[in-house]
């Protein structure tokens, strides 16, 4: 049970709040869509509606996280966003290819979506073209992935935020601010099993205490890559979903929880953890949960 001494930023995107002291706002849950590449919009719509319904029932905000692997998928996915997503629903775009990143930013600007967009992500691999595009078409919010190939400890993650670990000209925080991005989330970069995995969780309170920025991670990535879990296949989904409670338990603000199909388990699991955190932070620190917090659903 803890509270941060550093003042915590509470960021808002299209009505969804993220950040703050533990126990105030519920954990924001990012559900991944189109992992496999080619968009299957019919199935995606069902999963999306289910996730949005779970969000309403639990109180945990949902963010659809759209994987866009190729330029040719951009049109179909942005049409999907336009057609299916509720008008004020924020979403994130999860792109690794720098060229696709540039193109999707242009497209989001053309469709007037940037005020609802969480850009996933800025990291040490940022290119000059990407910087140019982000300056021109600045999304409302961006996630910085604090992956430091030189040092995977919590301090290494701070190093990359501060100075890019000398892989970029300046630190990732300054890069993002210089691009005009005002709302920044920190992803603590969960690593492969056995590769300092716990550091992604340990880094959450360290980074929140250092910067007061909303922080979280994609701990699902670790579970997904675990070979050890091959011996316990029936437990994999449970382990996957329950791993996310570490994020809120350590004061984190968001979980990028993997495929949207896992939402049925993830939402109630994380909501339950948020309720427990809210109870003890209110009892001990006098912190009241937000009116949409899952604990309000119990009253």
């Amino acid at each position: 049970m803890f509270s941060f001494t550093k003042e915590q930023e509470i960021l808002e995107i299209s009505g969804t709040k993220i950040g703050g002291q533990p126990g105030v706002y519920p954990t924001v849950l990012f559900g991944g869509m189109f992992f496999k590449g080619e968009p299957d919009c019919e199935t995606a719509e069902k999963y999306l509606n289910n996730m949005l319904d779970l969000s309403k029932r639990t109180g945990n905000p949902a963010i659809p996280d759209f994987f866009i692997r190729k330029e040719e998928y951009i049109e179909e996915i942005t049409n999907f966003i336009e057609r299916v997503l509720p008008e004020n629903q924020p979403f994130s775009i999860d792109v690794t290819d720098p060229q696709v990143k540039v193109r999707i930013l242009e497209c989001l600007h053309e469709k007037n979506f940037l005020s609802r967009t969480i850009y996933n992500s800025i990291h040490v691999g940022i290119t000059d073209e990407e910087r140019e595009a982000l300056t021109k078409y600045t999304p409302e919010m961006a996630i910085i992935v604090a992956f430091n190939p030189k040092d995977k400890s919590p301090d290494g993650k701070i190093e990359v935020l501060e100075n890019g670990a000398h892989l970029t000209d300046i630190g990732l925080l300054d890069i993002s601010k210089n691009l005009g991005i005002k709302k920044i989330l920190i992803d603590t970069a969960a690593l492969a099993p056995g590769d300092n995995t716990g550091a992604a969780i340990a880094a959450i309170p360290v980074i929140k205490e250092e910067y007061g920025l909303p922080t979280g991670c994609a701990i699902h990535n670790v579970v997904e890559k675990s070979k050890w879990l091959n011996d316990f296949e029936s437990a994999r989904k449970t382990v996957d979903a329950s791993s996310n409670v570490n994020i809120s338990l350590f004061g984190g603000d968001f979980a990028i929880f993997g495929p949207i199909g896992n939402a049925d388990i993830v939402f109630p699991t994380v909501a339950w953890q948020d309720i427990l955190i809210s109870e003890y932070t209110e009892n001990y620190f006098g912190i009241s949960p937000d009116e949409h917090h899952p604990r309000r659903k119990l009253f």
């Binding site: 690794t96 990291h123 040490v124 691999g125 992935v145 030189k150 701070i158 492969a192």
Partner: protein, 298 residues
Amino acid sequence: MNNKIKTCVIGSYPVLTDAMELMNGYFNGKEIPWDKYIQYAVSDMVNAGLDIVSDGQTRDPFIQIFTRKLKGCRIRARTEIIGKVEYNAPITIKDQKYARSLIPDDKELTGVLTGPYTLSKSCIDLYYNDEKDLAFDFAHALKQEAKVLQKHVDMISIDEPFFSNEIPDYGKELIEIITKDISCPTRLHACGNVSDIISELLEMPVDILSHEFKASPQIFDAFKDYTFPQKICLGVVRSDDTRVESVEEIMDHTKKGMRIFGEKIVQLAPDCGQKLLPRDVAFQKLKNLVKVGEKING
């Protein structure tokens, strides 16, 4: 050492890191090996024709190479000292062994240690509140590295740029901790204009002194008043200027050095580490430096 003047580097060499490749490694859960960057640096040095090469110090700036691996240090915006500084495990050995595997048998390899005084002055001390104690603990930790390093390299060079600002009264002791009983030749590199501290530098227990004679030619005059046991590594091309010095210019500079130092000159090198130069410029400077070495050695 024989009478041949050997061409060499001070330590660092520029390489362009592919950060996107490192990120793709993260996204795909695969560790991207660093070896290729060492290979770029070493192959450039070998192809330039140097007699003594380094591993290029490609991984990190010269402070972080050491503080990243020593106990008591943590790196955030800068290195912070949060506990007693102690040796944990070999720091540069893996890269040196790899560099050795890349070079022909007739080439030599230098190990490079960032000096204890420079390390102590470059960190934010949150633990000792005593600069001297911190510097001595760095020296003892570096000694451990030197003891391992001597088995894998032909020379150990200690890089102490902060000596050009001031040499503390315990500066000699710091260097002595590292060089005592080390079996391979040792070199102390102090860059900047060291004219005012020559007498203190000459007290240093090392085999070779290395300075920026090209950028600070007044150092030549400062040495004239002294006799000393150390040999000289002559800086002959600038490391802070992208202009590539011609062979003739380097030759003139070298001959000036030979007139003053005679056979004490055993190495020709860039003034300092080349990390901040564009790679093609750094390479061309080394090539011209080597041409001068070849002419002088006949």
